[in-house]
């Protein structure tokens, strides 16, 4: 049996340190994510300097664990793929410099990967036969973007957010209501468990007719609803009142309505073969349910990554790096991080 082509993926763009080993571009041999969630929870968001400091401690052990789980040594690697941007500069630099050092010392090629291109590819790890042209919705704490892709490697941004990212609005509303950080999973669960109707939210309109996203208005609407209906945040007992449940259900419904409104508009206009989603918010069970329903109605295939691949992970970076390497792409060892890297730009 010939030795598989082994790619090590490294991702450290925000608060999670992750390393993954991918064999022959198809077999995920390991995907280790060291979460910093507990470290940042008291602040209701990621504190950049804390994240960077934790990455320095994590990077060696996380890579070592990824290799161990995959049953290989560093010397077996054929390629290193690493997130080069977008993200937090201090965080990106840890993964990037570690990866560059590996590429130099092991004399193997390096491929710098766009984090968003990683999320774009995350459904392909489990569904390699997804058909183009497609629409891809990337929704997380830092991103809310809808892309049109005619073929592999082509990306056109159809809609972005004018203010908050979708996941950011979940975190902010959770914080207002005294719910734990991150807000997405807890709001998803509370909304699912609540049998009653949610408090209605109006869909924000962008007056120039653009189909860009806007979530900061929903956050304000949630605050106004709290004041209007006299809803108290969750107290020290941790008991979650019925009005809080009704509020988060209504808020979540409004976020999903806005996301799927854009997806449906462009899907009707562009008639893609597939719609794919990625990013932490794509884990939301109600978003998944409604998306599948809508796409079934439109006759378009719909794919989601399994939950561990929705949040930041190195598996998607390894996969994307492998694809780019097959296209002849490598990144020189003098490459710097790029915090504002956009999808579709030439970046290697």
């Amino acid at each position: 049996m010939t030795k598989p082509f082994l790619v090590l993926g490294i991702e450290s763009s925000c608060d999670d340190t992750s390393a993954a080993v991918l064999g022959d571009g198809t077999r995920l041999l390991s995907n280790i994510v060291s979460s910093q969630e507990a470290l940042h929870a008291p602040f209701g968001g990621v504190v950049p300097e804390l994240a960077s400091r934790q990455h320095i401690r994590n990077i060696g052990p996380v890579v070592s664990e990824a290799l161990q789980v995959a049953g290989i040594n560093l010397s077996d690697l054929d390629l290193v793929a690493v997130t080069r941007g977008p993200g937090l500069i201090g965080s990106l630099l840890v993964g990037l410099n570690y990866a560059k050092a590996l590429a130099y010392a092991l004399r193997i090629p390096l491929v710098g990967v766009n984090h968003l291109e990683g999320h774009f590819h995350s459904p392909f790890l489990e569904y390699p036969t997804i058909e183009y042209p497609l629409l891809c919705l990337i929704v997380s704490g830092g991103h809310s973007s809808l892309y049109h892709s005619l073929q592999a490697g082509h990306y056109r941004l159809l809609a972005g957010t004018r203010d908050d990212a979708a996941g950011e609005s979940f975190d902010k509303v959770a914080k207002m209501l005294g719910l734990p950080y991150p807000g997405g999973p807890v709001i998803d669960r509370l909304a699912r468990e609540y049998a009653g109707a949610g408090i209605p939210f109006n869909l924000p309109k962008i007056s120039d007719g653009s189909l860009d996203f806007s979530f900061s208005g929903l956050k304000t609407a949630a605050l106004q609803a709290m004041q209007r209906e006299g809803i108290a945040p969750v107290g020290k007992t941790g008991e979650i009142s019925e009005p809080v449940r009704a509020l988060v259900k209504g808020f979540q419904a409004a976020v999903i309505r806005q996301l799927l409104h854009r997806v449906e508009s462009f899907a009707r206009q562009l008639a893609p073969r597939s719609v794919i989603m990625g990013g932490g918010v794509s884990c939301n069970s109600e978003l998944r349910r409604q998306s599948r329903e809508l796409m079934a109605e439109l006759g378009i295939a719909c794919y989601f990554p399994s939950p561990p691949l929705t949040t930041d992970n190195a598996a998607m970076i390894a996969y994307t790096g492998y694809k780019l390497h097959r296209l002849g792409r490598t990144t020189p060892l003098d490459a710097n991080a790029d915090t504002n890297l956009a999808l579709g730009e030439e970046f290697s």
Partner: protein, 241 residues
């Protein structure tokens, strides 16, 4: 961290030292206490773009094959530029893991106190921490080996002067001492101001590491973390995930 600098029994180790904690990128290869080659370069953006190319140059100039000749890496782990510290540490971690050799983190204050031209006695290294503050430590140097009395201090100029008064005839050294000549010239009381050592932090780190016994090397390599002194600024607005 206290490192036991007992003499090495084996032949002289070859060590690459890396310092990216300031705007001067500094790399040195030492064989025992001898400097084989060194490179000091002011950086323009950050260290990321040039570090590996310069490491490649010093190793070639020293005629060192990393996998065959290099026995350890040494890195200055702070205090200094937070970004610089992390670029250096992430890079040496990757190199050390790839080459299967240990990497020893050493802090810049300790290295100043270990400079070869200093006599024994109380040594107080001072680095400019910006924002009108100074990173400081106090060592009792005996037989050339600095033992920490106080470490990890971040002080104002006044507090540094107060610290100097605590000790009898301390030796003050480091690039952060410039303010002393103006605000508190030596005649005010007895302290001795030394210029920064000619040896670079990278060479000092490599030389100290090359002098470690195998057991001390293992112990020192097991404590891989940065030495920022200044705590993270958690008041800055948190960003979403």
């Amino acid at each position: 961290m206290v490192i036991d600098f007992e003499p090495a029994l084996t032949s002289k180790m070859i060590v690459l030292g890396v310092d990216t904690t300031t705007a001067e990128q500094c790399l040195a290869v030492a064989e025992g206490d001898r400097l084989l080659t060194e490179r000091r370069e002011l950086i323009h953006t950050n260290h990321t773009e040039t570090l590996l190319a310069n490491i490649d140059i010093v190793l070639r100039e020293a005629g060192i094959r990393p996998t065959a000749d290099l026995q350890a890496l040494a890195v200055v782990n702070g205090p200094g530029s937070f970004t610089g510290i992390r670029i250096g540490m992430a890079t040496v971690r990757g190199l050390a893991d790839s080459w299967g050799i240990p990497v020893v983190p050493l802090d810049a204050l300790h290295l100043l106190a270990a400079a070869s031209a200093l006599p024994d006695g109380i040594i107080i290294p001072v680095l400019d921490a910006r924002r009108q503050h100074y990173y400081c430590a106090v060592y009792h140097r005996q037989a050339g080996v600095p033992q920490p009395i106080e470490s990890g201090l971040e002080l104002t100029a006044t507090e540094v002067i107060d610290l100097l008064r605590v000790y009898a005839t301390p030796i003050v050294i480091g690039p952060g001492t410039a303010f002393l000549a103006q605000e508190c010239p030596p005649p005010a009381w007895s302290y001795s101001l030394r210029p920064s050592p000619e040896e670079s932090p990278a060479f000092l780190a490599a030389r100290l590491t090359a002098g470690l016994s195998p057991a001390a090397l293992r112990q020192a390599a097991g404590t891989f973390d940065a030495f920022y002194i200044r705590p993270p600024d958690i008041r800055r607005p948190a960003v979403p995930r």
